[in-house]
């Protein structure tokens, strides 16, 4: 019971503050680790969301106006697919984004196309169709805000968001 509680708590904490999960703060997690002999939710736990996000990588990047997956992207997505095969309790939403150098509606369509490219690849690697949803944000949710290629290249992305609402 305690074990379950700890596990769920860790997931909830992850959902609330991903960056907090990413930082190794011994004070916060040391005690949980002592109880269950591992560090659930920590990046070193291969079943954790932090591991998915940071070690495997939760996002792939695209070139201008393109939705084709380069080798870097495929390497990341292979890792995502393997993780999803191991962690069958999760479904994901792939969120497609564009940089600001495009018109709003085209970028919505482009984001959808990028999300779909990732979805298709994950499905081709054996993930059930109904475990991978897609969503587009077009140019509505940039993470980098400068107006040069340094930022634009980070914004042309598809992020695989693990849905934690289902619990275990």
């Amino acid at each position: 019971m305690i074990h379950n509680f700890v596990k769920i708590s860790a997931v909830v904490i992850c959902a609330i503050g991903l960056s907090a999960c990413g930082q190794k703060t011994p004070g916060a997690y040391g005690k949980l680790g002592d109880v269950i002999g591992a560090k659930p939710g920590d990046v070193s736990d291969p079943t954790s969301l932090a591991y998915f996000q940071q070690t495997i990588g939760d996002r792939v990047l695209f070139t201008v106006n393109e939705s084709t997956l380069g080798q870097d992207a495929i390497d990341v997505l292979d890792g995502q697919a393997n993780w999803l095969i191991q962690n069958t309790q999760y479904v994901v939403t792939v969120e497609g984004h564009a940089d600001e150098q495009g018109t709003r509606e085209y970028n919505l369509a482009l984001g959808a196309r990028r999300a779909s490219a990732v979805q298709n690849y994950l499905v081709s690697r054996g993930i059930a169709d109904n475990r991978v949803n897609t969503l587009t944000y077009g140019k509505e949710r940039p993470i980098e805000i400068c107006s040069t290629e340094v930022c634009w290249s980070q914004n042309r992305r598809a992020v695989t968001v693990v849905n934690t609402n289902l619990g275990s």
């Binding site: 939705s67 600001e100 509606e105 919505l108 369509a109 959808a112 805000i145």
Partner: protein, 442 residues
């Protein structure tokens, strides 16, 4: 009422033109040709309208100022300030002292009177050609509730504009847009409504969901827009008065880029299924849906021709974004854009003669216009990011939004004449994007 006067006016102008050419050969008729762009604005005087009773005093000043601002804002007219006036108009029916207005070179003179009766505001005005010493059209009277004062100013300005240019006006109109606030990586967006000049801003949604690209129904009572209210982009229909809203029809996939048909019974939009955006037509009343395109490319940003027979849209079926025209029934589409760069967001002019668009070329964005066959392309603006033109009710002016570059970059709404002149920022309380202009209000 305005329509009647305009008919009358054409005759009046015709007579006037004749008179000028015979009597004063070197004076041009009092008419501005707005198609060529106006380098020298026509000087006019608009002395503060006469308050005919005490209650009207508080309206007279602002009412006159708003109509003068409308005219000056076109770039076609220049106001001669009240301080320079020799004559003071204290009686609406007293004979005009043309010599006094001629002395300060006021070519057009607008006189008016305002009175209040209960909650009704009564506005009368006359327009004169000072040099010809004659009235231009009949006097007009508008009656409305006192809280419609700005609309009455706009109606007077529309009548004056119409008499002096031969075109219908565009001042008594509204714009629906997206009000934006907050930093670039956490932008809050609200659906907002304003008068064409930025006055009377009203927010229609809160900032809890992303809202995008709103457009008016033909009678401006309803707005169609994209919202993330359900978690993913869906096209909503909202009543402006009740703010009641609903998802339009069955939208199994992501939906965006909606626009009404000219009769308001249909909406065209993009539905993206498995990463492929195609164009669909949806019946407003029944939600019945019909596919219009089926290419594997991105097909989006559809806009009806004003006669309802054709649809212009953008597609990257040939590689980059380009503009295409197809029948309202769908089927084959003809590409009309042919210059270098990419073309998006086509919008058919209410006059039917032109298509406005956004052009992306060599890292710059432009607003431009072209004939409906793609010929005579003309770029009107250039900046880091200009996007999303919308036509004034008379098809002579475009509004669009301009976003500045960098970490503090933000959008503002601008207007520009289709001649490329008179670029102006529309003042809004917050950042603004995605403007859509209504037709003239009834």
């Amino acid at each position: 009422m305005i329509k009647y006067c305009m008919t009358y006016l054409c005759a009046a102008l015709a007579i006037m033109t004749l008179m000028f050419s015979e009597v004063t050969a070197q004076t041009k008729p009092l008419r501005i040709e707005i198609t060529q762009g106006v380098v020298e604005p026509m000087p006019f005087a608009a002395p503060v309208f006469v308050a005919e009773n005490t209650a009207a005093r508080k309206y007279a000043q602002e009412l006159t100022a708003v109509l003068a601002a409308d005219l000056v804002g076109t770039g076609l007219f220049r106001e001669i300030p009240n301080a320079a006036h020799i004559s003071k108009v204290t009686n609406f029916n007293a004979p005009v002292q043309f010599a006094d207005w001629k002395a300060i070179n006021a070519q057009a003179l607008i006189t008016g009177a305002v009175s209040v009766s209960g909650n009704k505001l009564i506005v009368k005005f006359r327009l004169f050609d000072v040099f010809a010493q004659t009235a231009l059209g009949d006097g007009l009277q508008f009656v409305a509730t006192t809280n419609s004062m700005r609309r009455m100013s706009h109606k007077v300005a529309d009548a004056v504009y119409s008499r002096l240019t031969g075109e219908t006006g565009y001042f008594d109109s509204r714009v629906v847009y997206i009000a934006e606030e907050g930093p670039k990586n956490n932008r809050q967006k609200r659906l907002a409504l304003m008068d064409y000049d930025g006055a009377n801003v009203r927010y229609l949604t809160d900032a809890s969901s992303i809202v995008l690209s709103p457009r008016f129904s033909p009678n401006a009572r309803e707005i169609i827009y994209t919202s993330y209210e359900t978690g993913s982009p869906r096209v909503f229909l909202m009543n402006v008065d009740t703010l009641k809203r609903r998802i339009l029809g069955d939208q199994p996939a992501m939906a965006f880029a909606p626009r009404f048909s000219p009769d308001g019974t249909k909406v065209v939009m993009s539905l993206s299924e498995r990463g492929n955006a195609d164009i669909f037509m949806v019946e407003v009343a029944t939600g019945q849906k019909k596919r219009l395109t089926s290419s594997p490319a991105i097909d989006t940003a559809p806009s009806f021709s004003p006669d309802g027979s054709k649809i212009v849209f953008e597609s990257d079926r040939s590689g980059g974004q380009q503009i295409y025209v197809m029948s309202v029934k769908g089927g084959s589409a003809k590409r009309i854009s042919s210059g270098s760069g990419r073309y998006g967001t086509p919008v058919w002019s209410p006059r039917g003669d032109m298509i406005a668009f956004t052009k992306l070329n060599k890292g710059r964005f432009h607003i431009g216009v072209m004939r409906t066959d793609g010929s005579r392309e003309k770029l009107l603006t250039a900046s880091f990011l200009d996007e999303g033109p919308t036509w004034s009710p008379n098809g002579r002016v475009l509004m669009f939004f301009r976003e500045t570059a960098g970490a503090n970059g933000a959008p503002s709404i601008y207007s520009v004449d289709i001649t490329g002149r008179n670029l102006r920022k529309v003042k809004t309380p917050t950042f603004g994007s995605d403007p859509a202009w209504s037709k003239l209000l009834k």
